[in-house]
Amino acid sequence: MAILSEEEARSLMKKALSYSKADECEINLNGSDSANIRYARNSVSTSGAIGQTSLVVSSAFGKKLGVATINEYDDASLEKVVRRSEELAQLAPENPEFMPFLGPQTYAPQNPKMYDQKTAEMSPKLRTDMVAQSLQVAKDNKLTAAGFLQNTGSFAAMMNSHGLFAYNTASDINFSVTLRSEDGKGSGYASRDYEDYTKMDTLNLTKVAAQKATASVTAKAIEPGKYTVILEPSAGIVLLEQLYGGLDARSADEGRSFLSKPGGGTKLGDKLVDERVTIYSDPQNPDLPSSSWNGDGRPQERVNWIEKGVIKNLSYSRYWAQKKGVKAVPGPDAITMMGGDQSLEDLIKGTERGILVTRLWYIRPVDPQTLLYTGLTRDGTFYIENGQIKFPVKNFRFNESPIIMLNNLEALGRPERAVSGESFQSAMIPPMKIRDFTFSSLSDAV
C-alpha cells in the first residue's frame, strides 16, 4: 500500500477515535513496504517484497487497558475495532503501573533527511543493478560474494483522546557484503545503512570487502592474551551498544545493573569511563536522522548520556519516572560517540604493536554485573607493527566489558556511521584504539 500522508493518517485516526466511549483511547497506525535481494555463491539466492499495515486501538477504563487491531479501514471496521478494544479493557486485570495516555506534545519537525521517496520506492531493476555491481567486484577479484540489499518505506502515526497527534515517515536502505577467497582462507566484510539510496555505494563497499578478503588469506596464529586493538566502527558498535542500550534507571535503582552501587543508589553522576568518552543521542542529526517522537508518544530530544566519562542521564519508563519524580527520558536513539580528528589509518600509523579488528560477531552477555561480554573477531583481523599492517592473524574469542574497554582508551578517531551486525541499528562511532583488550582463545574460523 502507499505510505499514507499526514492528512490521510490524521483523518483515518480521527474517524476511529470518534467511535470511542472509553475513559481514554489511543490509536496507532503503521505501514511499510519493503523489498530485498539476498545473494550468495556469486548469484542471487532469495528475494522478495512485502507490504503490510495495521491500526491498533488502545482503550482504557481506569487502570484497565484493552488493545485490538485491524487492517481494514472502512467505517464499520473502524467502529468494530474500537468496540472490541473497549470490551477487552472491561475484562482486563488492573495494571497498577498503567499510565494515562499523554496529552498534546510538542515535537520538533521531522528531520528532513529521514524520508526519501525514491529510496522507499526503489524498483526491482535498481536493486538488481546495485547488486550486479557488487557481484562484478567479486568476479573480477576471483572471490565469492554473499550479500544482502534491502530498501524500506514506512510511516507511523499516533493520535489519542487527549489531543496527542504524532506522525512520521522513514526510508531505509541497508547493504552488507562478505567476500571470501575461493580456497576459503580469506574473508572480508563491509556494511552500511542509510535513508537515501544515492549514498549507498555497493561498488566501493564491495571493493573494501574484497581488499580485506584478499589481505586476510593465510592468517597466522598468535597467542591469545591482552593486546592493544584498533576497533573499526563496525566492530566497536556491537560492544558500545551494550553500554548505551543498558542505561536504564529502573534496573539500576533496583540494584540489578552495572549501574547499581554497593549500599544502594546508582552511578548516575559518577565517572564510569575515560574522560574522552562522550555519548549522546540526537534525532535531528543530519548524518543519522531519526524520529522526533518515540513509540509511546514522548518527544525524542538530544540527550547526553555519557559526558566526559560521567553518566549524565538514564532512561525512564513513564511509570518509573513518576515514581521517582523525574523527567521521563525515553531510551536513546540515533547515538553518536564523539571522537577525534584522526582517521583509521592515522590510528594504525601511531601503533607500535596491535591488532586491527574489522568485525565482532556473536556477542553475548556473560556477566551483567560487570557488563562482561564474549564474542569473536571475524572477516579480517590483522597484526600491526611499527605503524603498519604486517600480516593477517587468526580470529580470537574475547571476553571484555565495554566499561573496562573505555577505561583502557588510547585514542579515538573520527566518528563515522556504522551499522551493528547484532542489532542492525546504526550509530556514529569512532574507530577506537584500546589497550589490554582481552582475547581469551583462538578460533580456526575464517
Binding site: N30, S32, S43, T46, A49, T53, T69, G421
Partner: protein, 546 residues
C-alpha cells in the same frame, strides 16, 4: 519474531511498557478472537488457487503459496503485578515463484483476489529481474503432490483455550513462591504460539497444518544491596511443541535425586520457582571457580544449546555451501569431510539424529514449508559425519533425489529457507544414570541450565555458561561454584565425550529464537539428550571488577 521483540513485548527490555502496534510480530487481538477456529479450508484453497493461477499466467514455472495465521499470546507478570496480557495475530499470504529459473517472492496482508494476483505478479517480476544476475538456474528436487492433507500437533489442552485468569493466577503464585524463598525480583511469562499454516503448490499439494508451542519461563533475581551484587536464576523449563498440559506437573516427569529438581515432559513451575528463589543467594555465596581443565557433566538443560550451536548449525547444508556467509556464517563441516565417510566429528558415543516428527518437540510438523513430508535421519553415526540437513533446491548437491523436509519460514511474510530440524544426541545404550556417571569423576563440574552462548562463524570455537554449577570431587557433588564458562573447539569437545546416560534420563531442551537469514528470521527447534560427560574441558573464570 526475534528475541528483541520478545523482550520488548514481555517488558523485560524496557521496564514494562504497554504494547503498541508492532507489525513485525503481528497485531494485538482479543483472547476470544485467538480462540476462534482458523480460516475455512475451502476459502484458503480458493485464495491459494488465485495465487497459483496468477503466477502461472505471468510466466512462473513453479509456485508455492503459504497462507498463515500466526497467533501468539504473552501473559507476563512481575512480582505481584500483571504486567502484560497480549494476544497477537498475524495473517497474510506469501507467494514464492520460479520464473526464468530464478526465485521470486512477494507477500501481502490484503487477501482479496486482486491483491493476491498483484502479489503473485510482483513475485514473478522480481524473479525475472533477478534472473539477470543468476549464474545457474534453480534445480528443484522433485516432489509429488499430496492432494488435500492436514496435520496437527497432538496436544491435550489448547493453551489458547485456558482462561487468562488461570495463567495469571499460576504466574503470581510462581512469583510469590520465588520471593518467599529469597528472590527480590521475578518476571514470569507464559508464551503460547499457534501457527495455522496452509500450503499449496503447483505440485498439487494442499496442506493444512495446526502447530502449537508453549514456553513457560521466569527470571528470578536475588540482590544484595550491601555489596551491590546480584544473581539471576532462570527457569529450568524448556519451550515445547505441546499444549497447556506441559504446565500440569506429573510426579513421573520429575528427577528429584539431583541438587535441584529437573523436569521431563511436564513442568512444575511453582516448585522450580521455589528452588530458584533460594539458589540466587546460593550462587552469590558460591566459590568462584579456579580456571583450568575439568571433566564436565552436562545436564540436558545445558547440553541442548551446545548441541544446537556446535552440531545443529554446522550440519546445515546451506551454511556449508556458503548461502549464509554474509550473516550466520559458513561451516567447518565441508563437503569433502562428508564425502570421505571418515570424518571423526566425535567419539563413538556421539550419535546425532535429525528428527522432524519427535512428539513434544518444537520442530515437529507433518510437512515442511515447501510441501515435503517430514521424517528422521542420522547426522552423526558412531562419531562419523554421515549426512546434512537440506531442502529442495540443494538436495541434488549431496546426491539426494528428494528434500529432507527442512524448509521453514518465520511467518507468511518471510521467504522459506533451510532451517534446522530437531537435532538430538541419542542416549547411551548401556544402563547409566547421572548419579552413576558422577561417581567416576575425580575433578569435575556438573552444569544445569543454559545461559551465555557464543560460537564462531564456522562453528569451531565456542563458549557456554549455565544457570547452576556444582563442583564434583572424587565422585561427589561437594558444593556450588560461580563465575564458570566452558570454552572448547567443537571437534575436540565431541571427541571428549566419554559417556552418555541411558534413555531413562533423556530430555528435550530448545529455543523459540534460533536466528538465521537476511532479513533475519527465527525458528523454534528442540534438542534432546541425556546427561553426558566430557573430559578435560577448559574452564575460564568470568569474574571481573569495574
Amino acid at each position: 519474531m526475534n528475541r528483541k521483540n520478545f523482550l520488548y513485548l514481555t517488558g523485560m527490555g524496557i521496564g514494562g511498557a504497554m504494547l503498541k502496534g508492532i507489525p513485525v510480530i503481528g497485531s494485538p487481538i482479543s483472547a476470544e478472537a485467538a480462540m476462534q477456529g482458523g480460516i475455512d479450508v475451502a476459502l484458503k484453497k480458493r485464495m491459494a488457487d488465485v495465487a497459483l493461477n496468477a503466477a502461472r499466467s505471468k510466466g512462473a514455472t513453479y509456485t508455492d503459496v503459504r497462507i498463515g495465521r500466526y497467533l501468539r499470546q504473552f501473559v507476563v507478570t512481575r512480582e505481584e503485578k500483571v504486567q502484560n496480557v497480549v494476544n497477537t495475530e498475524s495473517y497474510g499470504m506469501g507467494i514464492r515463484v520460479l520464473a526464468n529459473g530464478c526465485w521470486g517472492f512477494a507477500a501481502t496482508d490484503k487477501m482479496d483476489n486482486d491483491s493476491i494476483a498483484k502479489a503473485a505478479a510482483a513475485a514473478v517480476a522480481i524473479a525475472k529481474e533477478n534472473a539477470r544476475i543468476q549464474t545457474e538456474p534453480v534445480q528443484l528436487a522433485p516432489q509429488k503432490g499430496y492432494g488435500e492433507v492436514n496435520w496437527k500437533t497432538p496436544i491435550e489442552k489448547n493453551a489458547f483455550e485456558v482462561p487468562i485468569k488461570d495463567k495469571v493466577d499460576l504466574l503470581l503464585k510462581v512469583n510469590d513462591t520465588a520471593m518467599k524463598a529469597g528472590a527480590n525480583y521475578i518476571t514470569s511469562i507464559i508464551f503460547s504460539v499457534n501457527e495455522q499454516k496452509y500450503f499449496a503448490s503447483t505440485d498439487g499439494s494442499y496442506i493444512d497444518q495446526d502447530v502449537h508451542r508453549i514456553w513457560p519461563t521466569f527470571f528470578a533475581t536475588h540482590v544484595d544491596a550491601k555489596s551491590g551484587k546480584f544473581e539471576t536464576r532462570n527457569a529450568l523449563s524448556s519451550p515445547r511443541g505441546m499444549g497447556y498440559e506441559y504446565l500440569i506437573p506429573k510426579a513421573a516427569d520429575k528427577i528429584t535425586n539431583m541438587p535441584t529438581t529437573l523436569y521431563r515432559n511436564s513442568y512444575d513451575m511453582i516448585e522450580d520457582a521455589g528452588f530458584a528463589g533460594k539458589q540466587g543467594a546460593e550462587k552469590m555465596a558460591a566459590k568462584s571457580v579456579e580456571a583450568g581443565k575439568y571433566d564436565l557433566i552436562l545436564d540436558p538443560s545445558n547440553l541442548w544449546l551446545t548441541i544446537h550451536e556446535s552440531v545443529g548449525h554446522p550440519s546445515e547444508l546451506d551454511r556449508v555451501l556458503g548461502y549464509e556467509a554474509n550473516f550466520a556464517g559458513t561451516s567447518f563441516l565441508t563437503l569433502d569431510k562428508w564425502k570421505s565417510g571418515k570424518f571423526n566429528f566425535g567419539s563413538k558415543n556421539v550419535n546425532i539424529l535429525a528428527d522432524k516428527l519427535q512428539p513434544g518437540s518444537l520442530g515437529a510438523v507433518g510437512y515442511d514449508d515447501e510441501g515435503v513430508k517430514c521424517g528422521q535421519w542420522d547426522i552423526i553415526k558412531d562419531g562419523i559425519l554421515v549426512n546434512y540437513q537440506t531442502i529442495r533446491d540443494q538436495a541434488h548437491i549431496i546426491g539426494l533425489n528428494a528434500s529432507q523436509g527442512c524448509c521453514y519460514a518465520d511467518g507468511w511474510s518471510d521467504v522459506q529457507f533451510q532451517r534446522m530440524p530437531n537435532i538430538s544426541l541419542q542416549p547411551g545404550k548401556a544402563p547409566l544414570t547421572p548419579t552413576e556417571l558422577i561417581k567416576n569423576v575425580e575433578k569435575g563440574i556438573y552444569i544445569v541450565g543454559d545461559s551465555s552462548f557464543s560460537i564462531d562463524q564456522q562453528r569451531y570455537n565456542f563458549q557456554f555458561s549455565g544457570q547452576l554449577y556444582y563442583e564434583v570431587k572424587n565422585g561427589k557433588i561437594v558444593g556450588m561454584l560461580n563465575d564458570v564458562a566452558y570454552q572448547s573447539n567443537t571437534q575436540e569437545f565431541w571427541n571428549s565425550c566419554v559417556a552418555v546416560c541411558d534413555k531413562s534420563d533423556y530430555r528435550l531442551g530448545g529455543s523459540f529464537f534460533d536466528g538465521k537469514g537476511q532479513p533475519e528470521q527465527v525458528s523454534a527447534v528442540s534438542h534432546g539428550s541425556s546427561t553426558a560427560r566430557f573430559n578435560g574441558v577448559n574452564i575460564i573464570n568470568t569474574a571481573r571488577k569495574i
